[in-house]
Amino acid sequence: MRNVMAIAERELRSYFASPMAYVIIGFFLLPFGVFFFLYLNMFVRNSMQMGQFGGGSQNVNQQVIRYVLQNASVIILFIMPMITMRTYAEEKRSGTIELLLTSPVSDVEIILGKFFGALGLYVAMLAVTLLYIGILFVYGSPEWKPIISAYLGLLLMGAAFVSIGLLISSTTNNQIVAGVVTFVVFLLFWIIGWFADSAGPTIGPITSYLSITEHFDDFSKGVIDTKHVIYYLSLITFGLFLTAKSVDTERWRG
């Protein structure tokens, strides 16, 4: 565990030592802010209209936070390859992987270290978005429980992305290749859900089940369904397991 911590810390530090972390967080916060503004603006207009007609109540959780975070899940899909692409590829290119593989640490410790390192940056990125939510608490009174559930969903979804990104990065020593492939794979995981309606009753549910972002929907509504938790956890385990296999294969191949 100490080794995992050491590696995770180094990973995280290297994101922040370069402009990398700031660029990634910045590029995430910019569209996040735009969505936040748009949905909030719409919410305020709707509330005023509703008030004029004297009926109905508006829910800030359902109409602002939910949509903002749902859109955020798509932005994350675009941002995540930038976080994970370098994890293994860069170490293989620069030869530092030789240091890790000849140190008394197991492959699993290296993989988990890298996993938590990348996840750390992601969590930092999410943490900044809590400022926006905080603004809602200052001027209104949203419920905090669905917010917790939504952030838990984002965390799980992000972790699943990281594990897949790690796997792809471990197969190449070119981080651009890793980034592009990761991006396309994530994109497929997203748009596969769109086939759900047109694919018919047998394949439809399968494609919508596979879609990473689809599973986030319930979380954003404030529902923590074990079905979705298990989906994300199994995807994380699967990704990390394949990464271990990929690292091992690479070692045998030399």
């Binding site: 000849t102 140190s103 008394p104 191949r253």
Partner: protein, 331 residues
């Protein structure tokens, strides 16, 4: 301390290391000598647990590198061909990180980092980023990194590659100073380096061990034949015949195989200076002595000679010695 038995490594159909066996005694410095692509790095990577062998086994400090990798790695320090530095960390941060993953206890970390920085002469660069270091410093930080957990075994892949002459001397001194406390395997393709630092040498070529020898024997082999370069103002086979009559000459060959320029390479018995006799012979015959200078066999040539021998199995040192001499056709 290190025992390598019948190590073989294949990449697909290419055999990089072929049935290599050798031993390293505790406190010894073993030189691993071979041309590029001979399998030095592959052997070292197997020894450090970076990759598994296709066949055979290797033990480091009594632990099998394949079945007990963690234990073996705990006792091994490794400097790869390119020092594995993280460019965005300072030297101190980097060494501290390496200390952590090498299992140095938190309490000792600071003292160990300071000690190896001093030892490898990088303490003046402690807060410089690794990415901004010169080649020489990078190499030395690499050595510091290998020493951080005070390993019993040190494996250094071309530790002096890319250094300037002064740094090379410093690095060699450093390595010599480490012997005794550490068992060292270092690879190089520089022959004098082996003579100056190592107690024993394994010569490897095309993945096979060609010779295991002490540097003394190796340098003796280097001086195996004294060669002179002679240019005379005469041509033809009678010149060769005439030169061969000089006492002590073992072989005469045209220096340039294609044109008959009157330049010859004259080999003589070891330790015998024939220049006086040779000059007198040429002058008395009236050939006109244009040039006469000793030819040091270049390292490349010696290397080619040693590594292009066709050997069926790895010969013992005396056999190789005999073969090198046997190649010289006596007049």
């Amino acid at each position: 301390m290190i025992e390598v038995q019948h190590l073989t490594k294949r990449y697909g159909r290419v055999t990089a290391v072929d049935d290599v066996s050798f031993r390293v005694e505790p406190g010894e410095i073993l030189g691993f000598l071979g041309p590029n692509g001979a399998g030095k790095t592959t052997t070292m990577r197997i020894l450090t647990g970076y990759m598994p062998p296709s066949e055979g086994r290797a033990t480091v400090a009594g632990y099998d590198v394949f079945t007990q990798p963690i234990e073996a790695k705990r006792r091994t320090g490794y400097l790869p061909e390119t020092p594995p530095l993280y460019p965005d960390m300072t030297v101190r941060e980097y060494l501290d990180f390496v200390a952590r993953i090498k299992g140095v206890s938190p309490g000792d970390r600071r003292t160990r980092v300071d000690a190896v920085m001093k030892r490898a002469h990088v303490d003046d660069m402690a807060s410089r980023h690794c990415g901004k270091l010169s080649k020489g410093y990078r190499q030395r930080v690499g050595i510091a990194q290998a020493l951080i957990h005070n390993p019993e075994v040190l494996i250094l892949d071309e530790p002096t590659a890319g250094l300037d002459p002064k740094q090379i001397i410093e690095t060699r001194d450093l390595i010599r100073g480490l012997a005794g406390d550490h068992t060292i395997v270092l690879s190089t393709h520089i022959l004098p380096e082996v003579a100056q630092t190592c107690q024993r040498v394994v010569i490897i070529n095309k993945g096979r061990v060609v010779a295991v020898d002490t540097p003394d024997n190796l340098t003796a082999r280097l001086r195996g034949a004294e060669t002179l370069y002679v240019q005379v103002d005469a041509k033809g086979p009678h010149v060769i015949a005439g030169l061969q009559k000089v006492p002590g000459v073992t072989r005469v060959a045209p220096a340039d195989q294609r044109t008959d320029s009157g330049a010859f390479e004259v080999e003589s018995e070891r330790g015998r200076d024939i220049r006086r006799d040779l000059a007198r012979e040429i002058v008395t015959r009236g050939w006109g002595l244009l040039e006469l200078r000793p030819m040091r066999m270049s390292l490349e040539e010696v290397f080619l000679q040693v590594t292009t021998e066709e050997v069926e199995a790895a010969p013992t040192p005396s056999e190789t010695e005999a073969m090198v001499e046997g190649e010289v056709p006596h007049a």
